[in-house]
Amino acid sequence: MNREAFVEAFHLLLSLDRELVLITFNSLRFALASTVIASIIATPLGVAIALREFRGKRFLVSTAHTLMGLPTVVVGLLVFSLLSRSGPLGGLGLLFSPAAVIIGQSVLALPIVFSLVYSGLSRLDPELRETLLTLGASPLQRTTKIIQEGRIAVASAILTAFGRVVGEVGTAMMLGGNIRWYTRTITTAIALETQKGAFALSVALGVVLLIVAFGVNFGLNYLIRFRGSVA
């Protein structure tokens, strides 16, 4: 990689190069969509399980915790085999499309959101539940209030999941196929464009990804340091 690549990379960044912007846009929207889907499914689950005692709860929670570190390529392979034309969901013809990437990334994000929401809410004061009961709240009102009280934990969980998903390459590559203008994301572009010798674009995308990652981390720090302390 030579110096010109860096010069050109910054030119791409400053001139808001079309392809660069589109790839970034794709990455963000895939990650956003999958984080939203995962959050819609996993947040209520995390809340429900944090608030209940039942047989096998510890097993469930530790399983979810283990799945947080699920290798992206394993998820990629799993979803690939489901969505492939020869797989059970092949009829949908979703492989190598944005939908496939979003499904894969949602699977990645699910255990993250679930585990972090669960552990955040279980750390809430045990008297909260009794307080809500004694003030006469209905089950729905209690759940809503508990989520509200654990909003920092929920927000951190969602942000963490977004951070992981936006930076992963395994599922995006296997399920999206890195199709230009369509399923190419920051990470798949960096992984494969480098092969072409297209260093400038890779460097520029790398910078964008770093900015996104920093943004996510600053957001998390803000939540934990400035809002978490008073919660």
Partner: protein, 283 residues
């Protein structure tokens, strides 16, 4: 208020138009059909497809989505029916693919060539080899560092064939290599060229990818030109009888297009860094 704005922005971003974009950032041909082409990294990386496909897309109002993988994986994608048409370069595997009934209409339409690259000091004296087999034999005899793709790609298959012909290489198409000097890395062409450069080793590279890297690496072309290093590309339509959803009509059209005079001319005229990478040879 700010929160509401953020929420709306997120929703718009997700629910916004999901159609693909073109370079101008506008949605492109929403009504267009989609043809999935699985091909090797070497064709995609060279930029040839970006010259070859647009006239076809225009004519048939179709978007060709290109998935660039190794030949082995491209064939696997075809086997499971996840692509409509394949552009690959590993004749033995292709024959097997068609014989097993996964593909129809396999047509040669172009070739490029491989080059043996290595460090300028050329410890195995590959540059004075009589032919490609001799070049490989010299590397094996000297036990000079050789970086192998090791990913069942077309290039890898070609490399194994050459070791086999040289008669003394590692593995000789059977067991995986255990020789310390022969390093299978299981990565793409670009990564392999970079590795060979770092480790002062030899490797077999397709000319197009090597040219893309030439400015950034020390290793040079040490042997080229043997017809054994020619790398024939075929286009194969995935069998629609086995996978009914395959866009057979369009796939055949693409096959006809790349072998047509127009398609062949584009291939012949395509230049990367001033050099011709692909040579049309449709009959």
């Amino acid at each position: 208020m700010q929160r509401t704005g953020l929420a709306i922005a997120i929703v718009l971003m997700i629910l916004g138009p999901w159609t693909r974009m073109d370079a101008a950032g506008t949605s492109e041909r929403r009504d267009a059909q989609r043809l999935l082409l699985a091909t090797t990294t070497s064709t995609e990386n060279s930029g040839l497809l970006e010259a070859l496909l647009p006239p076809f897309e225009e004519k048939y109002n179709v978007v060709v989505d290109v998935i660039a993988v190794g030949t082995g994986q491209a064939l696997e994608i075809g086997r499971s029916g996840d692509a409509d048409v394949l552009m690959v370069h590993a004749p033995e595997l292709e024959t097997e693919f068609v014989a097993d009934g996964y593909g129809v209409q396999r047509v040669h339409f172009m070739y490029n060539d491989f080059v043996v690259v290595g460090p300028p000091e050329d410890p195995a004296d590959v540059s004075s080899a009589a032919d490609a087999t001799d070049a490989f034999a010299r590397i094996a005899q000297k036990e000079a560092t050789f970086i192998s793709r090791g990913d069942n790609s077309g290039t890898h298959v070609k490399e194994l064939g050459l070791w086999s012909a040289a008669g003394r290489g590692p593995s000789v198409g059977r067991e995986p290599a255990t020789d310390e000097w022969h390093r299978e890395v299981g990565q793409g062409m670009g990564a392999v060229i970079t590795l060979a450069n770092e480790q002062r080793g030899y490797t077999l590279a397709d000319r197009g990818t090597y040219l893309a890297y030439r400015g950034d690496v020390m290793i040079e072309i040490l042997y080229e030109g043997d017809p054994k290093l020619f790398n024939p590309y075929s286009i194969i339509v995935v069998d629609p009888q086995r996978h009914p959803h395959v866009q057979a009509e369009l796939a055949h059209a693409l096959s006809d297009y790349v072998t047509s005079a127009h398609g062949q001319q584009i291939i012949d005229e395509y230049r990367e860094a001033g050099e011709q990478l692909f040579f049309p040879d449709a009959e």
